[in-house]
Symmetry: C2
Subunit: 237 residues, 2 copies
DNA sequence: GCACCGGACCAATCTGTACTTGGTTCAGTT
DNA sequence: AACTGAACCAAGTACAGATTGGTCCGGTGC
């Protein structure tokens, strides 16, 4: 090419021609640009020059790039479900509790509005299962099922999916031991009472009380673990 | 086998032997039972009989089954991320707004606690981009990016993943036209002011106000669309 | 020494395919 | 009438291969 004649001139011209691709009329519906290799071939410059041009556009906020996905005009589209599952192993305990404290009280509120008598019966059975379990696994299991059933009763598919996303992280991480140690004998009966209060609020269709009961329960759980972390030796990743 | 000798006796014996598998000691860590075909071979009875036995255990709440996944002791483990993505196309607009009204105000609250000056600058740029966009696509795009950036500022990976899950549904569904019609000229300036109020609250590190500002904004958006649906012809799946 | 090119390699992502598994139906057998 | 075996369907999983942006290195021409 004419690279020899005008040193340092390839990127600017490439930049100009790529900028022309960003107008709404010339964009595909997913706002995706050709790949860097493709642009390199189309514009007759090296991929390095293309990348420099794209660096400028990115700094201007006009494009965004994601390795493996492509280059897009404007902000990044949300990534696929399978992709984000991996990053969630990094979550720490407090982060999960933060999310749970945000979503579960409203879920309980919705459940109180929409659950029928059969749902209340299911919830009641689960709290009893959890309370009567002898081993740690059983408690974990039925406690988890209890919270998920509330999410089901909320009657919102998307909200249930959100809950499952959080729940999966919660179960994958190795905090079972931590939580179990936080469940002293006195704490267990406290939680049992809180569970009952939640179920009772839902049965009586008292949304406010259900929300507050759930908030109280999760706060107690968090505080208990926090206290454990302070006294215990282990740090919690 | 001896099926001929004791009619109706296969399922009960199978039930008994499967029940023995449910004790915690004999269960694998994922609490998964052998497949129905495997059980059928192991116990020397037909798959039909195995299924009848499993029906009983399921009715008792001791196992749960999911096609494609397997049979599990106790409640179902949450399904994979990729699997639940499909079911979300069924979500309706009000359902999505319900979730957004639950999660985004707390996200704004957290953002106000944790965002730094650079974050506030980014948010400010995005509101301006959204406000200055001439076409509907541009507004949609930058508005979406604005809300996502707030989620980023909250500094909670899991919470961000939750937001993305909701956001993907929001974008996939064909409500762009609906939302755009809801954006009358007066509504647009209203939203612009609300966006600014959110950014301002975050910049001033006022969590309460940020949360309320976000709640106000989403409520206004929902009300606007609801009013549209009442007057407009189309129903909204 | 400088700017660029070509190529190679890595890591994140996406896609498609083949397999597994519970759910269902149906003809055959005793 | 009850069970069996087999086939098929639909939901879910798991794995491999291709694509794509990110990075680095040696070569080329001035």
């Amino acid at each position: 090419m004419d690279a020899t004649g005008r040193p340092g001139d390839n990127s600017p011209t490439a930049l100009e021609r790529i900028r022309a691709l960003l107008h709404p009329e010339t964009l595909p519906s997913d706002r995706r640009l050709p790949t860097e290799r493709q642009l390199s071939e189309d514009l007759g410059v090296s991929r390095r020059s293309v990348r420099r041009a794209l660096d400028v556009l990115e700094a201007e906020g006009r494009i965004s790039r994601r390795r493996g996905a492509g280059t897009f005009a404007g902000p990044c589209p949300p990534l696929n479900a399978s992709a984000m599952s991996e990053r969630l192993a990094e979550s720490d305990f407090m982060g999960v509790m933060e999310v749970r404290l945000s979503i579960e009280p409203p879920l309980a509120e919705l459940a109180a509005l929409r659950a029928d008598a059969r749902d209340a019966e299911r919830l009641d059975r689960m709290t009893k299962n959890a309370h009567h379990s002898q081993d740690a696994d059983g408690r974990e299991l039925w406690d988890s099922a209890f919270h998920r059933t509330i999410a089901e009763c909320a009657g919102n598919e998307l909200y249930l999916a959100v809950f499952d996303l959080v729940d999966r992280v919660r179960q994958n991480a190795e905090w079972r031991q931590l939580r179990e140690r936080a469940r002293t004998h006195s704490a267990l009966s406290l939680y049992a009472g809180q569970h009952d209060a939640i179920v009772e609020s839902i049965r009586r269709r008292d949304p406010e009380r259900a929300r507050e009961a759930m908030r109280t329960h999760l706060s107690a759980l968090r505080e208990s673990v926090v206290r454990m972390m302070e006294t215990g030796a282990d740090d919690v990743g």
